[in-house]
């Protein structure tokens, strides 16, 4: 019999646990840890006493790869970190290298960059919404969200030929001119989103089960957010009106009129509301930007060979998940000497333990969903 070959289970006194406690291994393969996240939960019944994250299952050494590639060659790799918001990743990286090179980006390129990143922000939020709802047990929104996300991906596909890992931008501006129906497609997408968001609200916002499951769960107030370095919708849901697009405008965001949605209590429901409103604000930005794409060149004065002077730069953007920073060090050669990525998901996930303590197992799932992690970015 197979059982005899196994070592006997440890006696209760040999474990560090109290007799009422239970260690539950959630992941790395679990339906709702969004990839290969492993959370070691210490439980008392269903109540969580502590959560310890084990990450790195998806570590590919992106920062090491950067050292062995030229500046242009590394650009496709950044798409594969937060693969849900590849366009934002690309924008951050390009901006960091442009900062080192000290080049001016033509306004046309800036406008197109803004449009695509905002479309990407909506796509990323849609994926979050679908999977978050799925975690909480609502199985329909995920399909509706993917239906709308498809439209966003079609825009990317038409623009640059790829849907997910787009490699849409190049250092110095853009590689591709906009396609024929670009403006119409973007506006149609905005119209569609504004209509469909109502559907999500009907399914979730008012629903008493949804409200019960999310209100007061995983609270992280403004003080904690700053302490844990948590940014993005989580910080805004805690009442801090801080958005890099407003605080330190880049890529011409200061030209557009939009609001930074905030909420007060910093719980899961507030984050949900903040992200839903952000989708609307993104639509606003897209409408303004599409209406005023300036004519002109799409690429700044950047040669075929990119060789920035020795130096360093830290450039960060407001990615859908929070502050995405690139710290690039150049030694004057063709390859970047060091590329450090400051991933929002990684830092935000650090606050998981804080958010989970005292909640129930079912809430852990909701909290992981509400942080909106992408393991590709956490592990890099």
């Amino acid at each position: 019999m197979a059982a005899t070959t196994l070592a006997p289970p440890p006696a209760a006194e040999d474990t560090f646990l109290d007799s009422n406690e239970l260690v539950l291994n959630m992941g790395p393969q679990h339906p709702s840890t969004h990839g290969v996240l492993r959370v070691i939960l210490k439980l008392d019944g269903e109540r969580v006493l502590g959560a310890d994250c084990v990450i790195g299952y998806l570590h590919r050494g992106v920062e090491k790869i950067a050292e062995n590639r030229t500046y242009q060659q590394f650009a496709p790799y950044v798409d594969r970190m937060d693969y849900v918001a590849a366009v934002s990743n690309g924008l951050g990286y390009c901006m960091a290298v442009e900062k080192l090179l000290d080049v001016e980006i033509p306004p046309r390129a800036q406008a197109v960059r803004v449009i695509l990143t905002e479309v990407n922000r909506i796509a990323s939020h849609l994926l979050w919404l679908g999977t978050h709802a799925l975690d909480i047990g609502a199985i329909t929104p995920v399909f509706l969200c993917f239906r709308e996300r498809e439209e966003a991906l079609k825009i990317f596909e038409n623009y640059c030929g790829a849907r997910l890992t787009t490699h849409a931008f190049r250092i110095g501006g853009l590689q591709y001119e906009t396609y024929d129906r670009f403006e119409e497609d973007c506006l149609a997408f905005c119209d569609l989103m504004e209509e469909k968001v109502k559907e999500y609200h009907a399914l979730l916002t008012g629903n008493r089960i949804w409200v019960k499951r999310t209100k007061g769960v995983g609270i992280l107030n403004a003080e904690d957010c700053k302490n844990y370095g948590v940014t993005g919708p989580l910080l805004r849901a805690a009442g801090v009106e801080w958005d890099l697009r407003k605080a330190q405008p880049y890529s011409g965001y200061d030209k557009y009129d939009f609001d930074v949605p905030t909420a007060e209590s910093g719980d899961t429901f507030d984050r949900y509301i903040v992200r839903m409103q952000e989708m609307g604000q993104s639509c606003r930005i897209i409408r303004q930007a599409v209406g005023a794409i300036p004519e002109g060149p799409i690429k700044g004065k950047v040669g075929k060979v990119i060789k920035p002077p020795p130096g360093e730069a830290y450039v960060s953007i407001e990615a859908p998940k929070g502050e995405l920073g690139y710290y690039v060090v150049s030694d004057g050669s063709l390859n970047p000497y060091r590329v450090r990525v400051r991933p929002p998901s990684f830092v935000n996930l650090g606050a998981l333990d804080k958010m989970c303590r005292g909640t129930l197992v079912a809430d852990v799932v909701a909290i992981i969903g509400t942080i909106d992690i992408v393991l590709g970015e956490v592990d890099r």
Binding site: L22, H30, E46, G137, I139, R147, K212, R213, A362
Partner: protein, 393 residues
């Protein structure tokens, strides 16, 4: 032969065997219906590959489940692990015995039929608890603990709602309940000036929880506990649990239909005028519609075998339409038709919930059960009792 038919044991025995044989097939098609309806709610298509529009999918699923490796975890309690799904299926199928499928089609008309069903569904919970416990897995254990708590809590409002209905009918026999609804000329749900709607709604909610269906599917909450109590089950054993779950759905839906929606009675059973439209035109029309749809689908099929199958299905439904048109056969099958139709609507309702609502949390589930459903169901019982006393004397 005559003697054989007169023997009181033969008819029920035949029916029992028939149910045991046919029921897995019905469950298979319920699963297909669930997948298709869910897909429809979710702007998808569902299974489309096995057979035309996926009509042979249940067979493929069954084959797959039977051929899968049967795993017993190393540290599992082997005998209980083996016993648990059997227990679940046994209780689920036994409860089917007292269901009146039509005015003449039932295994037994026991005078305490409703009690029997409630008892069986209580024991069914034991299967889940044992299954989860014996697997020696933390996810399973938590699932089975949840199952225990949930079933015990929701049996109370379910019981109160049932008692209200029984009080209204004045009998515990399933056939008796239907007969009393016929005599009073109104479905149980709308009796007592509509006050019976309270227990009806409560029964549906508590019944959903009793069968572990979304939004009360905590024992198997797939996003939290992987698969809850049957995490460690695979292959045939797992499919037994599946069978038990769907048997429970059928039983609860059937109970609901019998108590509140007139069982195998047609709508407005006392209005002579509606006899023809409801008993002939509606079922025959429905069958014709499906047959017509299948015929239209024949041309769209690529594989010749699929075309043939579609045509066969169309022919079967045409034949069924014929059954309803002929008065002699109509009388035989109309009760079954209405029972199945109402059951179908109930099952659709179950699937519809599942496709719409998020899942409750464990403590919220208890909250809803004890703080809301039980007080309301008790109030409903008292209210209905008072009204009945005043109105009927």
């Amino acid at each position: 032969m005559e003697e054989l038919l007169a023997n009181p044991y033969v008819g029920p025995l035949v029916l029992t065997v028939a149910i045991i044989l046919v029921f897995p097939l019905i469950v298979g098609y319920m699963v297909l219906a669930e997948r298709k309806v869910l897909a429809d709610l979710q702007v998808r298509l569902g299974p489309m590959r096995v057979g035309p529009y996926g009509v042979l999918q249940p067979l493929a699923d069954a084959l797959k489940l039977l051929l899968k490796e049967d795993i017993i975890p190393a540290r599992a309690d082997k005998w209980i692990f083996w016993l648990a799904p059997v227990l679940s299926v046994f209780t689920g199928l036994t409860a089917l015995a007292v269901l009146p499928l039509s005015d003449r089609l039932y295994v037994a008309d026991v005078n305490i039929g409703i009690l029997f069903i409630l008892a069986m569904s209580s024991i069914g919970a034991l299967g889940l608890i044992l299954g989860g416990w014996s697997a020696n897995s933390k996810y399973s254990l938590m699932g089975s603990l949840r199952a225990a708590a949930q079933m015990v809590s929701y049996e109370v409002p379910l019981g109160f709602a049932t008692v209200t209905a029984i009080m209204c009918a004045g009998t515990l026999s399933m056939q008796g309940v239907i007969d009393s609804q016929f005599e009073r000329g109104v479905w149980g749900a709308f009796d007592n000036y509509g006050l019976m709607l309270i227990p009806t709604v409560l029964f549906i909610i508590a019944g959903t929880a009793e069968t572990n269906r979304a939004p009360f599917d905590l024992p198997e909450a797939e996003s939290e506990l992987v698969a809850g109590f049957h995490t460690e089950y695979s292959g045939f054993r797992w499919s037994l649990f599946f069978l038990a779950e769907y048997a429970a759905i059928v039983v609860i839906s059937a109970l609901c239909v019998t108590l509140f929606f007139g069982g195998w009675l047609r709508p407005f059973p006392n209005v002579e005028l509606l006899e023809i439209p409801f008993n002939t035109v509606f079922p025959a029309g429905l069958c014709l519609l499906i047959a017509f749809g299948c015929l239209k689908g024949v041309g769209k099929q690529v594989v010749p075998g699929f075309r043939f199958l579609m045509a066969a299905i169309a022919a079967a439904f045409l034949g069924a339409a014929g059954l309803f048109v002929l008065p002699l056969t109509n009388e035989l099958v109309i009760g079954l038709f209405w029972f199945a139709f109402k059951l179908g609507v109930m099952v659709y309702l179950f699937i519809w919930y599942r496709g719409t609502f998020p899942r409750f949390r464990y403590d919220q589930l208890m909250d809803v059960g004890w703080k809301w459903l039980i007080p309301i169901s008790m109030a409903g019982l008292v209210l209905n009792g008072a009204v009945q006393l005043l109105a009927r004397g």
